[in-house]
Subunit: 94 residues, 5 copies
């Protein structure tokens, strides 16, 4: 799972019908300190995450279809959790 920050939303009217009715979020991977890393991508929300939330994103087509309860959804990225807290033993990060 990728740790990411929700930074925005995307509007698309001309799209595959299985993607209609789902909120499409802009997510940006972050490190353990919340710093942005890598580049933004887009994910469908299934846990009512909002802009600013620190979230768990799955990058797997099978997982995305399971989470949407729609085997016909052409999709690979889905937000499956909102992070409350991360505890890291910084001795192992030295």
């Amino acid at each position: 799972m990728i740790l990411a920050r929700v930074t925005g939303t995307v509007v698309s009217t001309q799209k595959n019908p299985h993607l209609a009715g789902h909120r499409l979020l802009v997510v940006h991977p972050i490190d353990l300190d919340g710093k942005l890393v890598s580049t933004s991508f887009l994910a469908v929300d299934v846990v009512d995450a909002g802009v600013g939330d620190r979230v768990l994103v799955i990058d797997d087509g099978g997982s995305a279809r399971i989470a949407l309860h729609d085997e016909g959804a052409p999709l690979r990225n889905v937000v499956v959790g909102v992070v409350d807290d991360i505890e890291v033993d910084r001795g192992y990060l030295a």
Copy 2:
């Protein structure tokens, strides 16, 4: 999902028969400001996207077959939406 710009088209006559009859687009990933990032790749179109459009591209074999309604298509990249608008809270990008 990857945000990308359609920059061209590809012609291939000698190919797998399941790929015949589909438009094959050149897509280039872009950032939230529309700037090109990473490198071009090729994707089949299912939403009537055109050169210059800002699109949503899926990079997943299962999704590609679903979107084409063809379980026999050897394919991983498909354009599933045209982007109308992106709203980003730039406070989270600082």
Copy 3:
């Protein structure tokens, strides 16, 4: 399989129900000498690994569902082993 070090744990209460009841670990890829490489990501534990352990992580949705014995789990990363020892012929690393 990716060689990684467990460096922490993540708490998420608002998440997909299939992920409830599993320990969610922060793992950081390491090289053969134990040095951190690349960036952290999150994985579910199924072998009772602890913080500080050197582990085997799988990055595959199908594998994650198999290891959790839950075909409805939207997940791609799972810790499937704890490493006891690595023997490398350093002549091939020169």
Copy 4:
């Protein structure tokens, strides 16, 4: 799909039996101008591509098995087309 150039062939006698009888090609990703990018990898040919050809390569296990008509083939990369022409609107590449 990845745009690539076929640069060579590989001989392997000690291998999984499902890979026997297929030509194994060395392919190198190229950009829209034909310049080599990234690094070489290996792919099975199903469209009679030859060394020097500009080809379409799929990087997806399900697609590879479909293209070989062999559900028992442990394989992820397959050449599914030979490129005749690429038309790019260079205004979008600026």
Copy 5:
């Protein structure tokens, strides 16, 4: 398929039961000249490859389960062939 060199072996006793009884190899991707590139990872062997061998590695969960004849194996990387020879037309690498 990835071209790699087998550089070592891994011992793990505390692991998923489906991975027991298989040799776990350390493999390092190499270029066409045998030079190490990228970083090491771990793969299960099914073709009796040894340390020092130049091998074909598959990075696909479905392929790994097929090659092991075990649909319950949480695994993505498997060594499926030993390379005898690579013939490259160096004119295309210039």
